[in-house]
Subunit: 364 residues, 2 copies
């Protein structure tokens, strides 16, 4: 817990003096006031986050954390849990959605096994550090997946703390290798069930209103999933005032790890781009531990999973994109990073009215 406390104590507010300067700068660019809308807001926010007048996003990192969920034995997912491990291989082979989209936006993908059920056979050549700097792997396995939270807590409190610490550690290592912006991503068969449970506990929303079909269950499967979530909350009684208790009882290792990444990003003054529903649940945990993390978060998109909007509204985040994505892995975060970079380039590369010899407004 010392590691978490130290990080939390390092989280302060945005640099409002530099944000005011950024606003002034934006207002002098050759465009009508505010006409680049959210691109301008993003540039200003990143100035406030980084406390740099000319931030650049050279090193973009998507953290894709993988873990399994004991609750899969309740039949909550359309895919077998073996897919979690199979997808880790796919990430490392470069064939998954996140690989394609991260490459598209110039980000590196950092894959972390924080609790995959199965002994992964990762060739040492793609172990971190490796020559393939675009697909990196960290072995931080804590267990062979969580316990079935329909029958008891998903993990111990110590494990919950440790999962957050793993996120902090991985972030710190990657920051040392160069990191200007982080995106959250995950893979874990069954993890929309955990995300729904976490969302219900924090936001007090009805389980029915924040539970979707995940990878594609049918109506009967959805009813069963809702039953499992309700059982998990009833049996474990997570305390919404204690985010680590919520994580331990109805969370997942990858969700704890992502909460750690969000906390570490905020303490290091780096923007952290939140992907979809499961990343949103991790944001709830981080926000529950330290509400100031909110100012360092940028919501990349609004997921097709209906609970996601409830999370964003609860924290007070406005998503950048609405493309009906529901894949996770960090795919929405990658696209969001590209929009944020566009905003920063607008601020730092456009000509001013004066430098371009363009007349300013005459009428009102």
């Amino acid at each position: 817990m010392d590691k978490i406390n130290k990080v939390v104590n390092g989280i302060t507010g945005l640099d409002h003096r530099l944000m005011d300067k950024a606003q002034e700068r934006l207002d002098n660019l050759t465009k009508p006031l505010g006409s680049l809308g959210r691109l301008e807001e993003l540039a200003k926010q990143v100035v406030g986050i980084t406390a740099e007048e000319n931030p650049t996003l050279k090193n973009k990192v998507i953290f894709t954390l993988a873990a399994d969920h004991g609750a899969t034995e309740e039949g909550i997912s359309a895919f077998p849990k073996e897919v979690t491990a199979q997808m880790v291989y796919n990430f490392l082979g470069g064939g998954a959605g996140i690989n394609v989209l991260a490459k598209h936006v110039g980000a590196r993908v950092v894959v972390v096994d924080i609790g995959v059920a199965g002994n992964l056979k990762i060739p040492s050549t793609i172990h971190y550090p490796s020559s393939n700097k675009n697909n990196l792997f960290w072995d931080k396995k804590m267990a062979m997946g969580t316990n079935n939270f329909a029958k008891g807590p998903a993990m111990s409190r110590d494990q919950a703390v440790r999962s957050i610490e793993v996120g902090i550690e991985v972030f710190e290592e990657e920051a040392a290798n160069g990191l200007d912006i982080a995106g959250t991503g995950e893979m874990g068969i069954g993890n929309t069930t955990a995300a729904s449970a976490i969302t219900a506990v924090f936001t007090k929303a009805l389980v029915e209103d924040i539970t979707g079909r995940g990878t594609g269950i049918n109506e009967q499967g959805l009813k069963n999933k809702i039953r499992v979530i309700k059982d998990a909350i009833r049996i474990n009684k997570p305390d919404s005032k204690d985010a680590i208790d919520v994580l331990a009882k109805v969370g997942g290792f990858e969700i704890g790890g992502l909460a750690g990444i969000i906390l570490a990003a905020a303490s290091r003054r780096k923007p952290v781009v939140i992907d979809g529903f499961i990343s949103g649940a991790a944001a709830l945990i981080a926000y529950g531990i330290e509400p100031k993390t909110k100012e360092y978060m940028i919501a990349s998109h609004s997921s097709a999973e209906k609970g996601h909007k409830v999370i964003l509204d609860y924290i007070g985040l406005k998503p950048l994109l609405d493309l009906d994505l529901r894949l996770g892995e960090g795919t929405g975060a990658a696209l969001g990073i590209n929009i944020i970079e566009a905003g920063i380039k607008v601020m730092t590369e456009m000509a001013t009215f004066k430098s371009a010899g363009v007349s300013i407004k005459e009428n009102k």
Copy 2:
């Protein structure tokens, strides 16, 4: 008119056989069915448009057409009309919003003077063809701006036809230089007034409901702008069944040129990405001439100018982005092109379940 008729006759439907194949391919990629939402739809649409199984977007072109508007003498804009010419210099100097965003997404900007009021002094070094392949210039000036449509037609019918032909000509030339996707953009002080008039004529919306503050007029300026638009429609009586009549009476040269670009793109089976409100008005003209153009259009964003949504709903286009942009120039189109490219890469670069050894759905 022969040139327009020839282009229109060349516009056919999408290739639905290849779109079905694209859907099958998307469904075999390592992700839950449909979980990349609109990225998948975009890939499929581009396959249908191009009739290519593996489309690439190597050559991206933003067409930024500039022209002036006689109605500016009614005091409808917050900026003086000289800004149109000044911004053309800014485009060619690389300092405008569209330069920054086009560069961000790897597009070239093609600037066309189709009716700027003033003799531009463009150094021959940046005349097309030039060594600077990212910022190209075409001198296609038809007049020193349109006439004041509050007092009579903006242009003659012959000029309206000619403005569309200019767009077709520029598109054809650029297609010969390499063009896989086009984005529409414009610059013209006063052109939101023309766009509102066109929108009112086609959609029958109330002028008040589709007229915004453009570059930033105040409440009194907005009232005056609405008055000018109503006068223009009352005096000129544009015929909504005759798109060229609408363009002639209440349009602008850049709007006609963009309509030509949209028609030419459709006839050449190239996706054309529609920017904001003024580009939307050009889309209305193209759609009025040939409704099949709709299938070749992709709406990049929903502008902060309120009439834009009315246009998109009328044609039946769903915007990709909602970032409160209202700059024009093609800025939203540039960002949209990047999302479309992401969709194509997903389709063509992701692994299949089989190739990656990932289990398929077991439960339902």
